[in-house]
């Protein structure tokens, strides 16, 4: 009953026998950062997603109160040409890792509601194919940064620390 209550409360479609195994619950996020370009130019969002669960997970996108639009994109190079297109989802294998990384899957964040400067912490809500969501803090980095930065080797998900109406379910709940 308690489990069903949770499922109903969260609006999460769960598989029988895997009541608590939501993607948001299974996925650990690290090295989350944004590449901030000058002016109103779109930012790129990157992170490492580790799936600790036994079910594959799929990241479908994200939203944020800081950016009007956040889209999951995929960059590719074919025949010497760079392309960027919208992506439906990025799969994260069970017990595996997938990365939002420069030159591949990434988040494209457009129309910031206020200027974001390097050093800022930006909250993004990651969304998964199973409907679960995970709040994650991304650190804003300068345009010419190569990664999340030496000063911040890991960036744990902070869903547990932030008040939210649709946060991740946790093992200890």
């Amino acid at each position: 009953m308690r489990a069903l209550g949770f499922a109903a409360l969260l609006g999460v479609a769960m598989l029988p026998g895997a009541l608590y195994a939501t993607s948001a619950n299974d996925v650990r996020v690290s090295h989350a950062w944004l590449r901030i370009l000058p002016g109103d130019l779109p930012a790129g969002g990157y992170a490492t997603l580790q799936n600790t669960g036994t079910q594959p997970a799929a990241l479908t996108g994200a939203h944020s109160t800081t950016y009007a639009d956040v889209m999951l994109h995929l960059s590719s190079v074919a025949g010497g040409t760079s392309r960027m297109r919208m992506a439906e989802a990025m799969s994260i294998p069970a017990q595996g890792t997938a990365k939002l990384a420069p030159g591949g899957y990434h988040l494209m964040l457009t129309r910031p509601v206020h200027p974001v400067i390097p050093g800022d912490h930006v909250l993004l809500t990651l969304t998964f194919a199973d409907g679960s969501t995970l709040n994650t803090t991304f650190i804003a980095r300068p345009a010419n940064a190569a990664d999340a930065g030496p000063d911040r080797p890991t960036q744990p998900a902070t869903a547990h620390a932030l008040p939210t109406t649709h946060g991740a379910v946790h093992d200890h709940d």
Binding site: R35, P42, D69
Partner: protein, 215 residues
């Protein structure tokens, strides 16, 4: 004709060999002095020496000034096509070029990154200036009429296409991912593809920066 006859008839048999040797020495000296291609640089990236035309274009730089390829003679040029509304690959490439420039130390002052916008509609000189400055002080943004940009792109057998799917101002542009490297004389020398390593790029830039401009 008379010269040949003169040589054949009157000179001592040893003399032509001596002359030949002297000629070879002279030729060698001339070759070293005038044309470095006689001793090819051990470049590691895709060598395009002699296969691509010299750097030439008529565009507007990020200060609004009309510029041509000749304005960058004396500099080693890294030519890259991109656009500022490209949030992933272009910044990645420019960030990598910035790291390469840093690795070159003071030598990097002899190089220029020319970031040519394939999106001249949105990329004004002012926007380009802010954009490239965020990556490297030796980067210059170039824009121009769509025709001028296309001419430069075609000159290097590069291509770009505005993706048709977007309805508003958020369209994407597919573009060539390679970086064309020119020596101080404006000759095309190497092509850095996305799979090229930074070590190889730094290696080749080092060689080209240490070679003086000679045509």
């Amino acid at each position: 004709m008379s010269g040949l006859k003169f040589h054949g008839k009157s000179f001592h048999p040893q003399l032509p060999a001596w002359l030949l040797l002297a000629g070879m020495v002279l030729l060698g000296a001339l070759t070293l002095g005038s044309c470095q291609r006689a001793t090819p640089l051990p470049l590691r990236l895709t060598n395009i020496t002699g296969h691509m035309p010299d750097l030439d274009f008529a565009l507007t730089d990020d200060t609004g000034k009309a510029v041509t390829g000749a304005d960058y003679r004396g500099k080693v040029v890294l030519l890259y096509f991109g656009y500022t509304h490209c949030p992933d690959v272009c910044p990645l490439t420019l960030a990598q070029l910035h790291v390469s420039m840093q690795r070159l130390g003071a030598l990097a002052d002899g190089a220029r990154i020319l970031f040519v916008s394939v999106d001249p509609t949105r990329d004004t000189p002012a926007i380009l200036k802010t954009y490239v400055s965020a990556f490297d002080p030796r980067a210059v943004g170039l824009t121009g009429s769509p025709r001028a940009v296309e001419a430069l792109s075609k000159r290097y057998r590069s291509a770009f296409t505005r993706e048709p799917d977007a309805s508003d101002s958020s369209y994407a542009v597919s573009h060539s991912s390679a970086i064309y490297v020119f020596d101080r004389a404006g000759h095309a020398r190497v092509l850095a593809t996305p799979s090229a390593t930074q070590d190889d790029l730094v290696h080749d830039l080092h060689l080209l920066l240490n070679t003086q401009a000679e045509s």
